[in-house]
């Protein structure tokens, strides 16, 4: 559908929030708590934080949470049965204050969760989610969305994108049907689109490398000393994967209480040695450099080749969260340079 543009007065933003809230939707927005800004359920507009580059954790948990029930079961010595979960009663959610990069992240998740087999749980959660994004007016050195085909004002993945213009009002871009329905809840709040150009209100994120250099030459990289060099200081925690908007690898675990139990899907990370460890003790990715290679290759080689999408949206969260300063864009620049050798 063609993007429709409108104007939302600064003062009307809260009204829009109230309208959606009154509509019975769960509002999920960035909240500052104990120094960190993260998405959380909010009751009032006042709780929402608007002064942040990015939340620490990504928005993915609304459709791919850290713990997700996938099957219920009953079990006893003589009878066991699995019980399907009811995806129809997932709540309607509005994801408010998403950054354009996070919104694009759902594209990568979609690609994974619909690759031949369609994951109905993820899809059901996402279907019930409306994404209201806000363009970036701030960025830092860790941001590199423009290097991976992104843009601080990109519309892809969002249902509605709001860009703050110079007088404090918002340029509203209605991107999807879902977005249209949201606008329809409060049509009186919206006016004719402003003439002011959107781009001049966006932060400037310089392009650091050409992603095609990496995705198209990845075959050259697999056997390369670079991986060891880059990952020597990596301590093998999962912080990068857990804050990442596109990391979708997961673990499945059962938890029982008496006769009843739940099969859970949990976030997992390819940086953990246990991730690929066989029961026999054999581990195909035995050392950290192999696991680091997997993380980068999965995003920049395997996903582009198999799923037609780059598995990284350049938010830089992994670099910010890393306890040992594994800076992903720095490593990607290295890789891009390696091609030219």
């Amino acid at each position: 559908m063609e993007i429709e543009k409108k104007l939302l007065k600064k003062a009307s933003l809260e009204k829009l929030f109230e309208k959606l809230k009154a509509d019975g939707k769960k509002m999920y927005a960035p909240v500052k708590k104990d120094k960190l800004v993260n998405f959380a359920l909010v009751d009032t507009f006042g709780e929402i934080c608007d002064d942040y580059i990015l939340t620490v954790k990504s928005a993915k948990s609304v459709a791919f949470p850290k713990i997700e029930k996938i099957v219920d079961y009953e079990h006893s010595k003589n009878s066991s049965k699995a019980i399907d979960i009811d995806v129809s009663n997932f709540p309607e959610v509005v994801l408010w204050g998403v950054r354009p990069c996070d919104a694009v992240g759902f594209d990568s998740l979609d690609a994974i969760f619909t690759w031949d087999y369609k994951d109905n749980i993820y899809l059901a959660r996402l279907e019930k989610t409306s994404i209201i994004s806000f363009s970036c007016f701030k960025s830092d050195n860790n941001c590199f969305c423009t290097s991976v085909n992104g843009n601080p004002g990109g519309t892809k993945g969002s249902d509605i994108l709001l860009t703050k213009i110079s007088n404090g009002d918002y340029l509203v871009e209605i991107i999807t049907e879902k977005g249209k329905q949201i606008i329809a809840k409060a049509p009186e709040l919206f006016e004719a689109a402003p003439t002011e150009e959107k781009d001049k209100n966006l932060t400037n994120v310089p392009i650091k490398f050409n992603v095609k250099d990496i995705t198209e030459n990845s075959a050259k990289f697999f056997e390369n000393d670079l991986w060891v060099e880059q990952s020597l200081r990596c301590i093998g925690c999962g912080a990068c994967a857990f804050v990442c908007p596109t990391c979708a690898c997961f673990d499945i675990q059962d938890e029982s209480a008496g006769k009843n139990g739940t099969r859970l899907r949990l976030w997992d990370s390819c940086c953990f040695s246990l991730f690929t460890m066989h029961t026999s003790g054999h581990n195909p990715r035995e050392v950290q450099s192999q696991r680091w290679r997997q993380r980068i290759m999965h995003k920049f080689s395997y996903m582009p080749e198999r799923l037609n999408v780059v598995g990284c949206i350049g938010c830089g969260r992994c670099s910010r969260a890393c306890p040992v300063d594994m800076n992903i864009s720095e490593h990607l620049i290295n890789l891009a340079e390696e091609v030219k050798k």
């Binding site: 999920y28 959380a40 954790k57 948990s61 949470p65 850290k66 713990i67």
Partner: protein
């Protein structure tokens, strides 16, 4: 009027002293509170702190840990080692806000059948007064939707 609350109590005891002591309580026909489920260990030194936490997670309202008196350990020093660990463990739990009134440590020898009965009775009475350990049970319960929207 609801039924009177009866605490669920788990006792972690060593095989050589307290278990034998509890046995003596029975053979001496001394009655004591039926709330307690006894779990026998080779030695108090074997009682891993995580086992106590598992008891709480599975609905215990109180825990009794008991073994041989100092210098009576079947393995000479198991209870001395256990004592140090309990000390540290107890203060860690207190620091985290776990209700340590619900964990009773004791020494009961194989000859102290009466002490065992008294220990269980007084402990159960204390646990009964404290009521159900709901704070812990809340945490132990899986609340998926809450976790989903916990970001």
């Amino acid at each position: 009027m609801s039924e009177k609350f009866e605490p669920k109590v788990v006792a972690f005891v060593c095989n050589w002293c307290t278990y034998a002591g509890a046995d003596l309580t029975g053979t001496s026909r001394i009655k004591y509170a039926p709330n307690v489920k006894i779990i026998r260990f080779p030695c108090t030194g074997r009682i891993d702190f995580m086992l106590l936490m598992k008891a709480f997670a599975n609905g215990a309202d109180g825990i009794i840990v008991s073994g041989c008196h100092p210098n009576d350990c079947h393995y000479s020093t198991g209870n001395f080692h256990a004592r140090r660990r309990w000390m540290v463990f107890k203060s860690m739990l207190e620091f985290m806000g776990v209700d340590t009134r619900r964990i009773v440590f004791s020494w009961v020898s194989a000859a102290e059948g009466a002490k065992w009965a008294q220990l269980v009775n007084t402990s159960v009475e204390e646990f009964r007064k404290l009521g159900s350990y709901d704070a812990y049970k809340q945490v132990a319960k899986l609340n998926i939707e809450k976790e989903v929207f916990n970001g």
